[in-house]
Amino acid sequence: MSYVIDGATGPWEVVVGLEVHAQVISKAKLFSGAATDFGAEPNTQVSFVDAAFPGMLPVINRECVAQAVRTGLGLNAAINLESRFDRKNYFYADLPAGYQISQYQHPIVGHGTITIDLPDGTSKPIGITRLHLEQDAGKSLHDQHPTKSFIDLNRAGVALMEIVSEPDMRSPEEAGAYLTKLRQILRYLGTCDGNMEEGSLRADVNVSVRRPGEGYRTRCEVKNVNSIRFVMQAVEAEARRQIAVWEEGGVVEQETRLFDSARGATRPMRSKEHAHDYRYFPDPDLLPLVLDPDWVESLKANLPELPDAKAARFMRDYGLPAYDARVLVAERATADFYEAVARGRDGKLAANWVMGDLFAALNRTGRTIETSPVPAAALGRLIDLIADRTINGRIAKEVFEAMVETGEDPLAIVEAKGLRQVTDTGAIDAAVAEVLARHADKVAEYRAGKDKLFGFFVGQVMKAMAGKGNPALVNEVLRKQLG
């Protein structure tokens, strides 16, 4: 079921590649000791290196290198034991040195692959071309003064990973699934927080269209798209624009565009006056970055379990269907929560509780898994109460709601509310007899062959027992008495 856009002159295929800028999680910047916290007062996290004062020199931050290597390993990519830093030269007020230090010709990470999960349950490998380290620029503030621009250099020099994909995606959904999966992996690795609103993760989307079976046509780059939904919208909008150009007999020009989310359309970036020649050359202030293979191995040995491996293990160890596993591993915190609930218990039952009642409760209360009103251990104890028949499943839902509200332990709630399941067959016998006597007409109908009424009797007995009857025993006694 490949994605095709039907134009006026026939079907078109969409070709998408992504360049993702991911801000590295590290205490200090790529080449200076200045802090990297988001939201600090302007120009409070700036060293003389970041501000490019005379005579200042960059020194590579080892932790940023480790983060890039971890990411490369997480993307199943080749780690280049020798890489280099180049200078990308251009003038802008928020680029203090007049050049950005980046890895142009010799990136730290080479070819890799990630597997994306599509809504129809299928998967697809997407090639990673490269990952390289570079510095972020500062920020120009144009709205602080009628005639002047202000410059905030807090972000200047912060480490970014630029992760470039192959043009392997063929639909907005695939582009969305790619970014979702990449973000997931980065968050699992702890190498980027993936926060697109704060700009820690930004995507440049390369889009072209072609007739099925054709080679690539000219692509356009849609810059700085800052949500997964917008990436998907941008792909579609840009593809449709290009199709219209081709179909009207025009030619798509290679250019840089912006996505206007309000209009749902792309537009050319203004100001084409600077045709940049970046004059890349090796940064003479930095030696080639040479990695010790043993160090890379030790990073590899300490990598966390990644989403795909975790999902496979959940399916294997907890007997989960693929869908459940995929949902539960989407966030590392959710997976950890689930595992704390499931360990030593019925894995599928645990998954149902987490994905059903817990997710609903989080939604309702506006909480996240990290701040869940019901801790994993408590949810586990609730499931234990079902397993050891202290309560039945229906009562459990009532107990769970009380746990969400009060934060109390499930057993305490059961005891306080007297919700223990009744397994005394004498009490069940009496309740059943009373219900059957009260509904003699329905009993007659049932016996005449209206089997569906069995559920009605169960409901009435449970109601009579305030929901506390053991469902299996209730069924058993009913069957016996209805004969």
Partner: protein, 492 residues
Amino acid sequence: MSALTDLTLAEASAALAAKKISATELARAHVEAIDRLAALNAFILTTPDRALADARRSDERIARGEARPLEGIPLAIKDLFCTEGIETTAASRILGGFVPPYESTVTANLWRDGAVCLGKTNLDEFAMGSSNTTSAYGNVVNPWKRRGDNRDLVPGGSSGGSAAAVAARLCLGATATDTGGSIRQPAAFTGTVGIKPTYGRCSRWGIVAFASSLDQAGPMARTVKDCAILLRSMAGFDPKDSTSADVPVPDFAAAVGQSVKGLRIGVPREYRLDGLAPEIVSLWEQGIAWLKEAGCTIHEISLPHTKYALPAYYIVAPAEASSNLARYDGVRFGLRVPADSLDELYEATRGAGFGAEVRRRIMIGTYVLSAGYYDAYYLKAQKVRALIARDFDAAWQSVDAILTPATPSSAFAIGEKQDDPVTMYLNDVFTVTANLAGLPGISVPAGLDAGGLPLGLQVIGRAFDEETVFRVAGAIERAAAFDAVPQLRAGA
């Protein structure tokens, strides 16, 4: 007072230690000499109060028996080294008013060892020049005069202020930097000693950058031993400079007096340029004879790619400079010429702030890095550079040090060689190879030309083998017994 300014650094140290003189009187003598010879324009900024305060502290330490290696030694600092709280100009208008909030590693090392700061010396703007005539603060005058000619001569460049100050006895030593010959050429022009150490020997942190892969700090002084003493304090691994070398710093001064017997000295045939002045050729022959007498063996060697060195240098250095100088944009520090848009701010500020030679090199550097020209210029120059380094590697198989002239001529008059930049660039012909290969090179005064002007010989050594360079330079110094003095000097 003349006696105090005529002391060598080593002599002054000994006299201070023996309490024959005080650091305060030594500092005062130099402060007064600087004042008296202000016409040399060797200093952009003097720091007499700082000098006397430093000297007072030194006297206290000497009295307590806590003297450090350079205790009480008055030094001049090339105004390319950032000095905390003291204006640093790089001899450019564009830095106008810039007061660094930090101290360069090299100068910090000198103060750590007890040196006294006299002030900041003049230089070619951003160290770009061989005559010290491109300074925004005016040219420096060479303390030497050609016999029968009263014209002002250049002191060489770019460390012309440091060279003039050392030669005129305005300080006991000075810091300098050398990107293509900026220590060795002015040393040769002023009858002083200057060494460019191995690339990575001294930290570049806090030195205003010209061409990062070539820049290297070094000392200038009146004797080889004084340079050795200064280099020991200046040098050392600095984690703040990724290109600084984590190697031990030996006692260079101990090497100076050592015998050179048995050392193999290379004489590169490619340095015998067509049209080389006969005086330079005979000086070189004299140097060979001295070393032979001292027990060295002399070997003709070949450094086949020498003729490509100068053009390669004038591609690599401007390329790096064009990028290094992009930060002088009027946004954060130094000069700002207000304008209505960002691009106009850049144009107005950089147009007003940079002198003609700096602008020329920025344009050359921008050109050679441009798309379509990169491979033909920058990349090719880097290949030449690798070949030059290989030439030297091959030479080290058969020799321990290389002897060459330091410059193709003696000092020339101010205004001479100004019409064509290439003529000026030729000054570096013997010195750039050591920068391109990252090797240590020293210039030692070895004699006078027919006009009575000093000439220097250059000794080049293996990477991180400054000790052999100092040994050979010491032998030349002893043999040459150079005792001529400039006409303009303290006490004259």
